[in-house]
Symmetry: C2
Subunit: 705 residues, 2 copies
Amino acid sequence: GSGADNDLYINQAIVFIEDAIQYRSINHRVDSQSLWLYRWYYSKTCQWILSLTITVILALAFIEEPSSLTVTSDVRYRLPAWNPPCGLTESIELLCFLVFVVDVAVKSYLIGWKEFWKNKWLMAYILTLIVSLTDWIVSLSFFCKESVRIRRILRPFFLLQNSSMMKKTLKSINSTLPEMASVLLLLAVHLCLFTMFAMLLFARTKDNQQDKEWVVYFRNLPDSLTSLLVLLTTANNPDVMIPAYSKNRAYSIFFILFTVLGNLFLMNLLTAIIYNQFRGYLLKSVQSSLFRRRLGIRAAFEVLSSLKETPASAQQSCVSVGALLQVLQRVEMDSRCKQAIMRSLKMCSCDQLSAAQFQKLFEELDKDAIKQHPPSPEYQSHFMQKMQFTFGHPYFGYLGNVVALANIISICVVLVIDADKQPSERDDFFLGAINCFFILYYLLEMLLKILAMGLKRYLSYPSNRFDGLLTVILLILEIATFAVYGFPHPGWRPELMGLLSLWDMVRLVNMFIVFRFLRIIPNMKFMALVVTTLLDLVKNLRAFAGILVVVFYAFAITGIMLFKGAVVPLGNTSFNFLIQTFSIKKVVVLYFKEKKVISWCSAHFQAEVIYCLLYILSVHLICRWAKIYFVAWWLISSVIWVNLFVALLLENFIHKWDRRCHRESLSDIEYQRTVELMFRDVLEEPTEEELMEKLHQHPHLQLCR
Amino acid sequence: GSGADNDLYINQAIVFIEDAIQYRSINHRVDSQSLWLYRWYYSKTCQWILSLTITVILALAFIEEPSSLTVTSDVRYRLPAWNPPCGLTESIELLCFLVFVVDVAVKSYLIGWKEFWKNKWLMAYILTLIVSLTDWIVSLSFFCKESVRIRRILRPFFLLQNSSMMKKTLKSINSTLPEMASVLLLLAVHLCLFTMFAMLLFARTKDNQQDKEWVVYFRNLPDSLTSLLVLLTTANNPDVMIPAYSKNRAYSIFFILFTVLGNLFLMNLLTAIIYNQFRGYLLKSVQSSLFRRRLGIRAAFEVLSSLKETPASAQQSCVSVGALLQVLQRVEMDSRCKQAIMRSLKMCSCDQLSAAQFQKLFEELDKDAIKQHPPSPEYQSHFMQKMQFTFGHPYFGYLGNVVALANIISICVVLVIDADKQPSERDDFFLGAINCFFILYYLLEMLLKILAMGLKRYLSYPSNRFDGLLTVILLILEIATFAVYGFPHPGWRPELMGLLSLWDMVRLVNMFIVFRFLRIIPNMKFMALVVTTLLDLVKNLRAFAGILVVVFYAFAITGIMLFKGAVVPLGNTSFNFLIQTFSIKKVVVLYFKEKKVISWCSAHFQAEVIYCLLYILSVHLICRWAKIYFVAWWLISSVIWVNLFVALLLENFIHKWDRRCHRESLSDIEYQRTVELMFRDVLEEPTEEELMEKLHQHPHLQLCR
């Protein structure tokens, strides 16, 4: 009936507006049941469960069998890690898989059969789930004793497929691959030609004293190739040329040519190419988000305009204010935006809204939230007003910075004086007394500021929140110290009591004081700019970071599988001998040095890799797989990812810089900046035709006109 | 008289046009004598003498007293370098100074008294000369035994002041300094805060086994600062965290945070800032060159229009064709351009030229020289025509590439087989025979191509010239080998005869063959693009390279002066012991590794520095000056210069890439590309008003109207 129809339209409008707010695609089923399912699927609870499941399945690696969840990384000292009994991690895994099965089923149903076949990500999702479940069954039937577990390598896929940003980013990276491949090919040609030159140049001679270069670096083709590849990472830079250079200075020309061509030109060319490809990346992505938002709003308008209550006589389609109010009340959105829209809707004199008016209403969503700090309390007493003026003045903040600096310097001085003292000679009195005084000042500063600004206004500034939190922590630590060890006095050097020794407490306090010193950042203009750029970058980088986690995870798991069993604790002496061996350092150095991005994840698996290599070298068997693994690792993590990062940073920073020049004057107002806002001046609004064309292509929505 | 006036005007026009061609400023004296002096000063001979003088005075460092012009760099083996007697280098220096005195006098006279006072470069030039001459006199009066020679550090200034491009670049770099300084300050704050954290975190404990981290890296404030600074260069990346990491994995978080913030964010921020500042640099510089050219032409027009023969009645000023022809015949310029201008001048029907026509005539200067290859010879015989078709076809070139590849592969195979053989076991027959065959093929290929294309057309392609030259060299080497050692036969292993052993000859031939393989580059599209970008870059980079030479030279001379006397050859054993010492490696590594730009110049002075440090460490005296010297070196050569280079590369590459997309279709025509042409589409023509305003500001030229 017409009432049911109206209900459906209202529901559709609600979902479309929510899609617009979240920048989601509107290409999903739009019948009543599906809409209910859709809202349920995208509800906070459901999405939170999904994220939790992904986190859990990724985190399983830390407790699964070749676990390295030990305090020390040294195989000689560490206790055997706890290995969960067979079936524990497997049952958690099964639970996760079940959640993923539900997820894929709901997703597939919601986008509809036709769209499903076009969606390669969903197909890959299903395939991954099938493979994982099969592998799981195999694993259980071997009682967890099987050696290869494919499903572990596949796990990061679940993280990948859940984020539309990551999928988009991956697509962008994919499109730069041909150019990157060309440069890498060029790099390979460069490497091969120079390897041949090197082998001809540093050939074996009759004099054994003279061919050190040949013996150490260019003994055969794989050795030469490795030497030059490592030179490309600059890890063995002076070493590799020293024997030849001390024979004849002219040999350095070869190495200089190689380094300049390879490192300076070709490597930076890679940066240039990636930057060139990524120049429009951010803008394009923000532009498509804007299109999705406008499309969602427009779709909501179209369905609302089909409501029966609308007078059919009107030439242009339009929406009644009442219907929109009804929709708005049920839409889940930021309460500030909702109130602003309601307010402007009420102020609007007309009863019907045209498409343009409708869009204009929702432009509130794109606007900066200008932060209003609550007002300071108004004191009656003249003395209090004077106090308020004094301690609310910026100079009081500057004084606080100066005191913090003085504290830092005093800590620094004590550290320098105490540097070489035995722990038993150390006198904690001086530092204790100083810190006690400074912390009292910080407390006083905080209280006076609260007095001057009022608690609400004080807390509305992020810098004050940071300050206050640290002051409270410091106060608690100091009180705890005094409670356990009494007040400081000369020769104040008590023994360990309770959890931490006095010295550890003092160190902890000092660290917090150093950390608190960061409050000076917003006071320095350039620093503030840099820090906000970096924070923006972190926001924009989430997708990249996600892809990095995917790559790290896959590499770590592959490494564990490849080098399993190679981790054999060696005796103390031979271990030290090997540590000193030069050649091992080179391989490890290739692995560590150039991997400028050390994530916690990888750090976790490092020890294994070192010991594996030690073992491998100790039996004089150089593992080809290890070499290939490390070269691939270097290429992906160091060369490609770092360049991508540089490209993004350039893009972000240059936009930010340009903007800074534009609105120098507005800098007092604090904006809650988002990527979308950064590009607002450059973005193009989609035209009405584009929107309507897209709407007519909707697979499930039949528009009346 | 009027005739003398006319002569002066003609001379002025000639000089202005020459200024325009060379992109020189026209702000110099314009009376007859000055013009003669000006043309003499900018004549090829004079400029060549000046360049030679600069080269000579810079090259003096290689033979002056602490000279390192020896074959080996190893102080244990090398013979004492030849030290020139006192007075030899000094007299050469004096000659150079005299040339510079003449240079500065002429330059100062030519720009005039008023301008002289505004020109800081000229003042600095005079000051440098005075200081140098004083130092020279002091030096001679001490009979070359004085310890400090300031004039050596000042030498690179002579190179700097002689190049307008370098001066301009320096100005650009100067304008980015404030931003760079901000980031460096941020880096310093980052370093200091983390140093304090580190000292608190890795403090001395009671257990001696446990505080390895403290002993090796964080013993006191300077040590900690150095450790973290070196970590910022990634030189000690895994080592510095290993002791702490094997104690507790969580310590890695500290190092990861430090590396990510410092290396990934702040260092790349520096790249972003420098790129942002340099984005318009090339364009701006080309734009100002264009302005100088247009201004020179316009000035020539103005002086020619003041000639008495011009009818005064004309409302607009104009120039007679005859006068212009007279000027053109005496102007020194590229003959192709001159002919083109003459031709279009003769084709022009009118007798008088307006300013616009005049400018248009000289636009020939900006045009690409489209290279016309001479035609192939036309053969009568049918057989010869077929031959010509076959061997002139691109496929024949591809066949040549395939053969070259086969040759490379064969050499590679022989190298791999022979890798571990003793020199006495080696049989040179196989390689000799193969190379003989291939070189014959190369000769045949060259001859057939010459037959098909004719010698002139063959030589007009750069790839053929490269090919032909290498083929001729290979042929000569091969003939020489056969002449000395006879034809190859199994067991062909003769003893050394003459200058080079057979093995050396074969190696030399092989190297040339590998080098010849580079002829494939133009056949691969992307490679060709990259290579032309790199060649363009090299052209644009001359100014940067010059500044780099200046910095290198100053650092090298300072290093020699600072570490003089520290170079003491140590006994063999202690030397080896020290080489193995870890701590020395770290300092040297800081010096070498990150200095990704190793120029020949620095390589020349490296050995000294190593031995200096060895000596310094061996007497347990860490030289603070050395540390400061190396940190300054790292900052300037590695951080700032490399970032400048990346910025330029990005700028160049992105322009090139955009252009490639524009004129994909025109790629068959070979252009002689210059920087000016690269930007032609973007350049703005200066307006008539701007030109005339600038002309009226000329300090020496009084225009009639």
